[in-house]
């Protein structure tokens, strides 16, 4: 039996009915990974995964996700399993502890088959900045899968795994989900613990999930999200069952369309898909309301001050002294720092460290960092105001479908604009997701649903109802003609 493209819920059912054993499932997974050409994994966890699968088959482990193989983005620390964050500087780093998200998913019984490729330190929108090579989009191997969680998105899209974790700092789950034609969700900032997530920009980073549909995402969030005393920014709200409201009626619900998100200059297919999706939601009883968010245009510049500032400080610990890459033949301490970091980090990471160092430096702090904090508050207020009028906000997930590998690497600004629609929800901290809703020249495009604070259930409800009435999410790269 082929397990490729099966959803999490389908595989769960097969396991429960004993139509397949966990061992077979995991074995098959590794077989598929070994024949894959997408380069979506950096490190495999074969021996441990097969052992765990056997344990499950012998009835030794239980849980909501028991026996199911999943992939972890290589940004989550995994005990005794190499965690590189896509960087040379952590090429040989083996963490002595598990990230809370990893721990939670493991407690639910899932089996981690490996660590997925990603943009170095999650800095990128194409997965081309990975030290371990670019990931290829399974829909077209010459194209990028998006980033930074490109490995996770590609692995799910290719059917290697039914689910994978991701992290989203400015769109790193939603944009690759869109470009790979799968479903991805980033919960409210603080819902999932950041303990054990290698920090890029602490005030924006949030863990989330990739799966083949919204229902599976809900099931994953039930385990990914938790209050964690080890993370001071973790929210203390009670645990929610994200599956509970997934079948609610959308009648009378209000969907906001952001006036300032101009989609008129996007490709015809992107515009057409958007109009089509509006019609589907209308047919489900939802109404559309235009909301004005005048400060949302500040999102990209604000983000590119806040995120690099935090990253410049967060990445200071990679100094060649305690762990990670250390340059050889150094003259003195300063030389050790300079050479280890120069050789250990890639260009994009260096670019952002430089920007961050600059915006925080004496004399520039007020003009950049402080200003960015102010505009961030204004953007947040725009969301608060908008959500007083609507239940969810809808927009394209990214400006276009997957682009050719190498086509934007020389133009960082062009690359940064990939996250035009996604960045604002990170700045505000609200939950958001991307679902497949069409194709542009045989390449998937995504629809973004943004929810109010802690309203993951609401956007999952919208997404699930949409997917019950469309089939974009069940298409896969082997479909042949996708248009």
């Amino acid at each position: 039996m082929s397990i490729k493209y099966k959803t999490l819920s389908e595989l769960k059912e097969l396991l429960e009915k004993k139509d397949i054993s966990s061992f077979e499932l995991v074995e098959e997974t590794f077989k598929n990974i070994s024949s894959s050409k997408t380069n979506s994994f950096i490190t495999l966890n074969e021996e441990v995964a097969l052992t765990k699968a056997k344990e499950f088959d012998q009835g030794e482990c239980e849980g909501d996700l028991a026996g199911l193989p999943i992939a972890q983005k290589d940004l989550f620390c995994t005990k005794n399993l190499r965690t590189t964050c896509g960087s040379r500087i952590l090429e040989n780093f083996i963490p002595p502890y598990n990230a809370t998200v990893v721990e939670n998913l493991s407690k639910a019984g899932s089996i981690c088959v490996g660590k997925t490729n990603m943009d170095e330190f999650a800095m990128g929108s194409s997965n081309e900045t990975s030290y371990f090579g670019a990931v290829k989009n399974p829909w077209d191997l010459e194209r990028v899968p998006g980033g930074s969680s490109g490995g996770s998105a590609a692995a799910v899209a290719e059917g290697l795994v039914c689910a994978a974790t991701g992290t989203d700092t400015g769109g790193s789950i939603r944009q690759p989900a869109a470009l790979c034609g799968i479903t991805g969700i980033k919960p409210t900032y603080g819902r999932a613990s950041r303990w054990g997530m290698i920090a890029f920009a602490s005030s924006l980073d949030q863990a989330g999930a990739f799966a083949r549909n919204a229902e599976d995402c809900a099931l994953l969030l039930n385990h990914i999200c938790s209050h964690d005393e080890k993370d001071s920014t973790s929210l203390s709200n009670d645990k929610e069952n994200y599956l509970e409201n997934i079948n609610n009626d959308l009648k009378g619900k209000k969907i906001g369309i952001v006036k300032e998100f101009d989609i008129s200059n996007l490709s015809k297919e992107v515009q057409d898909s958007f109009e089509q999706s509006k019609k589907i939601f209308e047919s489900l009883g939802a109404n559309f309301v235009e909301v004005s968010m005048p400060n949302i245009k500040l999102s990209v510049p604000t983000y590119y001050v806040v995120a690099p500032a935090e990253c410049s400080s967060n990445l200071s610990r990679f100094d060649g002294v305690k762990y990670g890459y250390r340059a050889e033949n150094v003259n003195d301490l300063e030389d050790l720092y300079i050479k280890s970091r120069s050789e250990g980090f890639g260009d994009e990471v260096k670019r952002r460290i430089l920007i961050g160092t600059y915006v925080l430096s004496a004399g520039f702090y007020d003009a950049y960092y402080k200003k960015a904090q102010q505009s961030r508050r204004m953007i947040k207020n725009d969301f608060v105001k908008a959500f007083s009028e609507v239940d969810v906000i809808m927009s394209p997930s990214s400006p276009s479908s997957a682009f050719k590998i190498g086509s934007k690497t020389e133009d960082p600004i062009e690359m940064y604009l990939e996250d035009l629609f996604t960045i604002s929800s990170n700045l505000a901290g609200v939950p958001a997701m991307s679902i497949p809703h069409g194709f542009s020249k045989n390449l998937p495009i995504g629809l973004q649903l943004i929810g109010n604070y802690l309203e993951e259930s609401e956007i999952l409800n919208f997404a699930h109802q949409y997917q019950k009435n469309t089939d974009w999410h069940i298409r896969n790269p082997d479909f042949g003609d996708n248009s």
Binding site: S202, S312, S316, R317, D319, Y323, E334, L360
Partner: protein, 475 residues
Amino acid sequence: MSWETVIGLEVHAQLSTSTKLFSSASTKFGSEPNTQVDLVDLGLPGVLPVVNKDAFKKAITFGLAINADINQESTFDRKNYFYPDLPKGYQITQMTQPIVEGGSIEINVDGNIKTINITRAHLEEDAGKSIHDAYPDKSVIDLNRAGTPLLEIVSEPEISSAKEAVSYMKALHQLVTFLDVCDGDMSQGSLRCDANVSIRKVGDSELGTRTEIKNINSFKFIEKAINFEIKRQIKVLENGDKVIQETRLYDSLKDETRPMRSKEFANDYRYFPDPDLLPVIISDDEMDEIKDSFPELPNEKSKRYISELKIDENEAQIVSSSRELSIFFELAVDSESDPKLAANLLVGEIGSLLNKDNIKINESNLSSDNFNTLLKRISDGTISKKIAKTVLADIWDSGKDADEIIKNQGLVQIQDESIIQDVAQKILEANPDQVAAFKGGKDKLFGFFVGQVMKETQGKANPKSVNDILKKLLS
């Protein structure tokens, strides 16, 4: 030309919490290198800080003691710089909204009281230690100290001499130890200071260029380092040169300050709010709790000793001046032991023993329980105050129980008046000349007779009985 000195001190007090400021590792001093570190202290990828509220309690207690404003909402910032003993590449500190602002401390310089205003006191984490002399060809790092909570207490530049600086440090030392916010052990670096020193012509209103002397860790060195620096700056200015604003280190072996390498301090720290930590809010209830458990300070203690326990002013001040001594005193005194006698022995006999051994009372062999027993034996007449000193000396060496020493060495006071009468009789008979002289008006000889009786009884005779009996026999 005459110069005046302007000094401001930045004192780092290690807070005596059991765990670190942002991790659950122990803060104990002197353990094997790198055994008191957890994932957070190592600055591993992915770890996050969680605030130790106990450190806040201690910082607030200090703030209340100096009548400062307490910011019930305070924040943490990152101070970014590279150093091997700083695992994260930044120190978490309170730059913009410190927990304590304002307040003042009174110092006593040769009997004159002066008030030094405090700018702020903020929480921050200590760094680890770089060790450069353990191996011939490499430097090594001990991270045991990394993350230990520090309260940095910043004074206004209102200190005008090395002597005042020492008084200020001593006042701070007394305060933080009494409040139990810091163990005050300067040799272990629990309390250390950076001194900002500048000089200007008497009458000038503008401050001169200052230098900062880093990490001074004894009262003696504070005085020496500052005095050296003042002299050096005067010399520089009188030669027509300019004082360079720089960071200097005090070398106690050479008794001089010298500049640190410029690389070690030429940093732009790029402070910004730590995104891993939310503002720390101290509720009114928490504030009340801290106020309710506020310890009694030396002045109040001294006043209480005088009024309630009828202790001499001088002795009361000495006993209340140190936390250890006052705790010891209060534990030793009860309804059956005389507080006046206790204070008297603590200041006198025990004080000299402590000075001689250069230790604190809690480091001696004398426990408060044992001292209590000793006091009771004096009060109930078992031994005389003189014998008590013999017993004390024994305890000091052996740590044995007072009663055991009294019993084993037969030191019980002779109360039987017939025995004393016999001895006195013998003494008078053996010294007919002195008896005659006494009767002839040489009153001072009475002391000689007392001394002889005491000598004969090995000091065990009840002194009051000896007096009475001798008076009767000589009349």
